[in-house]
Point group: C2
Chain length 241, copies 2
């Protein structure tokens, strides 16, 4: 098997006020490629839905050496390198028009049986991966397991109509948007080389009142989303390099 | 001249929890087609920017007979029918795979000289339109001029990083998102045939504290965005048919 290849051009609606691809658009492109590749190889959400199974993103990390300018073109390579009983590892490399690798990502996905909310059986996992693995290592350190925070709430957010997807869960991109909305604008202006790790633990649902906690530790910004019951929904870390 | 033609397929990220194209995605598609068509005909924002001119959307209306399902395909036709000293009229028709027209829109654009914040001179207007007009009438009643509201504030919103575009102004789609976020979820679930009119008066900038006022009158929902100084930024009306 070969890595799958996708071509992109940074569209005006994917850039932020610095006219560079925003981190949340990068994340959207990566997840879009994952979905399209799984679909074209016959194990996308549509195929799995027939058995009431689905892919759930549990962890992801991505590293960007710089944020590409509006209208610049790049190539994305994606492949599954391995899987175990509980999760599947999908990798990504982003290469610019000059042939330089400027971004990389590693994601871990669980296959869930939606009728029981439990992991799918081993047969289903094996079947989805048969003939779909590429023997190439992950392009960077795999997503880290993020520890609990001691930080203070910096934002409250009620999950609204425009936040939710077809499942009535908050869209994964919105976590990134909300995190970035709390950062000082001059930090966002000069943001460049970075690594982000995200752990998804539990879905945010329509109407949920979310708190976002933030803590700075070891040169990293750490974030944690909680719902009103105090459940941790998502943790993220941002490291500027 | 002929109408310009664009093809679309409703993508998973353009649908809402009802698995139908959301109104804000429809608006995004319409504005995207306007930008792409202006660009390919040589009078897009990129060409105008050389003279420090730009297009600014002043009014738009759109009518949808139904909201298309996820993965359904449709064709969009767009053309400029006329212009005067102050604005240019761009029209849209949306036709589904069965050949039924299910949507239409009319937009009015001003050409602004950004160095003076005043309307561009008549020469620039004439030049942009030369050879680019199509002799076909607007497909529905043109955007209405919306009157002031007596309504109460139903929402406060601070303009954040993820709301703004390259100009540091709130993205036009976000006005629609915020309006829809205030509607009851069961109204959004059964939303079907509708007409929306929007008047844009003044930009919302990064950090602005917006109030959204709402009033129901004559079977219509009327909305008005104001900034902290009390300036009216945008008015909208929604009519369910």
């Amino acid at each position: 098997m070969e890595k799958s290849v996708f071509q992109y051009k940074v569209a005006p609606k994917q850039v932020d006020f610095t006219r560079r691809l925003s981190v949340s658009s990068t994340f959207d492109i990566i997840l879009g490629a994952a979905g399209d590749d799984a679909h074209s190889r016959g194990f996308g959400v549509d195929a799995l839905a027939q058995n009431n199974y689905g892919w759930v993103l549990s962890r992801i990390c991505f590293e960007l050496d710089y944020l590409p300018q509006e209208y610049s073109e790049f190539t994305l390579y994606t492949w599954i390198s391995d899987y175990n009983r509980l999760s599947s590892t999908r990798n990504f490399e982003l290469v610019d028009a000059e042939g330089r690798e400027f971004g990389r990502a590693v994601s871990q996905w669980c296959m869930l049986d939606f009728s029981t909310r439990m992991p799918a059986d081993m047969n289903a996992m094996a079947k989805a991966h048969e003939g779909n693995m590429v023997e190439a290592p992950s392009p960077c350190e795999r997503p880290r397991r993020l520890a609990a925070l001691d930080g203070e709430p910096v934002l409250q957010h009620r999950v609204t109509y425009s936040d939710i997807d077809f499942n009535r869960h908050m869209n994964t991109m919105r976590y990134i948007d909300i995190i970035f909305d709390t950062m000082p604008i001059d930090m966002l202006e000069k943001l460049d080389k970075l690594r982000m790790d995200i752990n998804f633990m539990r879905e945010a649902r329509y109407g949920d009142e979310l708190s976002l906690l933030c803590e700075e530790r070891d040169n990293m910004r750490l974030y944690e989303f909680r719902n009103a019951a105090g459940d941790v929904l998502c943790r993220a870390s941002l490291e500027e390099k």
